[in-house]
């Protein structure tokens, strides 16, 4: 993260944090910001910054404290949390009922803040979150070029139709993209890779003679495009239409009916209705690229909602990611139709 990017984060995020906490965070040095992924503010507990897998407490002078020095850390009080909530909601908590129900708010610049507090239930369902006591600011960072390595494996140069959708693909149809599933454990870089794939397909890649596709992005948790007030804050491609905050299954059908996409991209499928929607899209001749939590293809077969999709070969490519050499490390790219590993 360059200094200008640090300034950008300071302008976009720190202005939404209570003045007392902001003063401390403004003293954090540029190098620390470079690796920071999350800012965690917990009521009456030390302020901390998350960098990769390590979490460090922040001292009053903005310095990161070594383990065992928690007593010297800056602690945010109830007033700081409530002032921050006021700034986040623009003095209007009532206008963020849905966000409080979901437990996170989208912020300008594609950042997000996760919330924890007292859950209020109504008829057994989460109605809203009150008495917020923990905030997790997740800094959005877009890694452009992260998908360059995998895009060639996703293109069907032979124009062979997919076995499950052969009726909908006419002979001589143009270059198509394989139905693809990206898997990794949590924080493995799935969303980052998916965003870059979305950008590449939406923009097109002249180096690969890849024209731009009409891409429909169903972004249920506002994580891929980082929409704020419906406007994507991150680059998801010139030809990408974004359905923000919409449940995946419903969103895919809406996208198919209204925007005639060539490719539909969505994040973290896992429920029965998601699997049903993927089948519908594949059978409608639309390419689906999505992600799921799993460490390997073998682990994926243990998930009852996703196993049938693999067994019936709805997905043609599976990309396995890991954090072995940093988040988003591509471990394998597998052709599920032939069972061959295409990468490495």
């Amino acid at each position: 993260m360059s200094i200008s990017q640090k300034n950008m984060v300071e302008q976009q995020l720190l202005t939404l944090i209570s003045p007392e906490v902001r003063k401390v965070l403004q003293r954090v040095d540029t190098d620390t910001w470079h690796k920071t992924e999350e800012i965690r503010i917990r009521q009456n507990r030390p302020l901390s910054l998350n960098r990769g897998s390590s979490e460090s407490f922040v001292g009053i002078k903005g310095n990161l404290l070594p383990p065992g020095q928690e007593v010297k850390a800056f602690c945010a009080g109830k007033e700081d949390i409530s002032r921050t909530m006021q700034l986040l909601s623009n003095c209007s908590m009532y206008a963020y009922g849905e966000e409080l129900r979901r437990g996170y708010m989208a912020l300008p610049g594609g950042h997000r803040v996760g919330l924890c507090g007292k859950v209020v239930l109504e008829e057994g369902r989460v109605k809203l979150l009150s008495h917020v006591n923990s905030l997790n600011f997740r800094i959005a960072r877009q890694i452009k070029g992260g998908a360059d390595k995998v895009i060639p494996f996703l293109l069907n140069r032979n124009k062979q139709p997919h076995s499950s959708s052969f009726k909908s693909v006419k002979a001589g149809s143009p270059l198509r993209v394989h139905h693809t599933l990206i898997i990794s454990p949590p924080q493995g870089g799935k969303t980052t890779l998916l965003r870059d794939i979305c950008r590449c397909l939406g923009d097109g890649m002249p180096s690969l003679k890849l024209p731009g596709f009409k891409v429909g992005l169903v972004d249920e948790r506002s994580e891929i495009a980082g929409c704020f007030n419906g406007v994507p804050q991150l680059d998801v491609g010139l030809r990408t239409d974004v359905l923000d905050g919409c449940p995946k299954a419903e969103g895919m059908v809406m996208m198919l009916r209204s925007m005639s996409p060539r490719v539909i991209i969505t994040d973290e499928i896992g429920r029965d209705e998601d699997a049903g929607a993927v089948r519908e899209m594949v059978n409608a001749g639309v390419t689906v690229i999505t992600t799921a939590h799993a460490g390997s293809i073998a682990e994926l077969t243990g998930r009852p909602q996703l196993y049938p999709l693999l067994k019936e070969k709805f997905f043609e490519r599976v990309i396995v990611l890991s954090g072995s050499r940093g988040a988003g490390t591509v471990e394998t790219v597998t052709d599920l139709i032939t069972g061959k590993n295409l990468y490495p």
């Binding site: 202005t15 209570s18 003045p19 409530s82 002032r83 909530m85 006021q86 700034l87 909601s89 623009n90 003095c91 209007s92 908590m93 009532y94 206008a95 009922g97 409080l100 809203l128 009150s130």
Partner: protein, 179 residues
């Protein structure tokens, strides 16, 4: 000589009469304006209720919208000042901002101390409550304003003409006594 003294007396009498009449008029207008301002504040609260429940606008946007819909008065100014402060100040919460705006505008209104207490009630949980809680609080303040409005109407009906006559009659009495 006599006519000169008479003239001075007449001018003095007219001044006394004008002063007491204006004082009566001022008292009468105060009653009128109090009623009008409370009425406008209630209108503002009704608009706020609509903004919160239907358009789900943020408070600054809602306050600017309300300020522009009400006639240019101290009450519309109260909403506009609050909205502006909410956008500019990050060291105060919305309740504190509302109280500050009330303090700034109150001297230019004809509201009583009890009216001010009611208006300040809006600060309770302003911007910090969820939708239902916010609407209930607005409703509560609206009901209190309605009660104050009935009182203001009664006092206006009773006192409006009385103060005018009192001003004029008081002036005439003083003139007769002094002359």
């Amino acid at each position: 000589m006599m006519s000169g003294i008479f003239l001075i007396r007449m001018v003095g009498a007219l001044c006394v009469l004008a002063a007491t009449t204006l004082w009566g008029e001022y008292q009468s207008r105060t009653l009128q304006y109090r009623y009008r301002q409370l009425h406008q504040f209630r209108q503002g609260l009704n608009l706020l209720q609509t903004e919160v429940s239907y358009t789900v606008s943020t408070l600054p946007a809602a306050f600017f919208s309300i300020g522009s819909k009400l006639n240019s008065t101290a009450v519309s100014e109260l909403f506009v000042i609050s909205g502006r402060m909410m956008e500019e100040r990050d060291d105060l919460d919305s309740g504190e901002i509302w109280r500050e705006a009330v303090a700034a505008v109150f001297p230019r209104t004809c509201l009583t101390g009890e009216d001010r207490r009611i208006v300040e009630q809006l600060a309770v949980s302003l911007g910090t409550a969820h939708r239902e809680g916010q609407l209930k609080q607005i409703q509560l303040v609206t009901e209190q304003v309605t009660t104050a409005l009935e009182d203001a109407l009664e006092k206006r009906n009773q006192g409006e003409k009385m103060w005018r006559y009192l001003g004029l009659a008081g002036g005439m009495s003083l003139v007769i006594v002094f002359l």
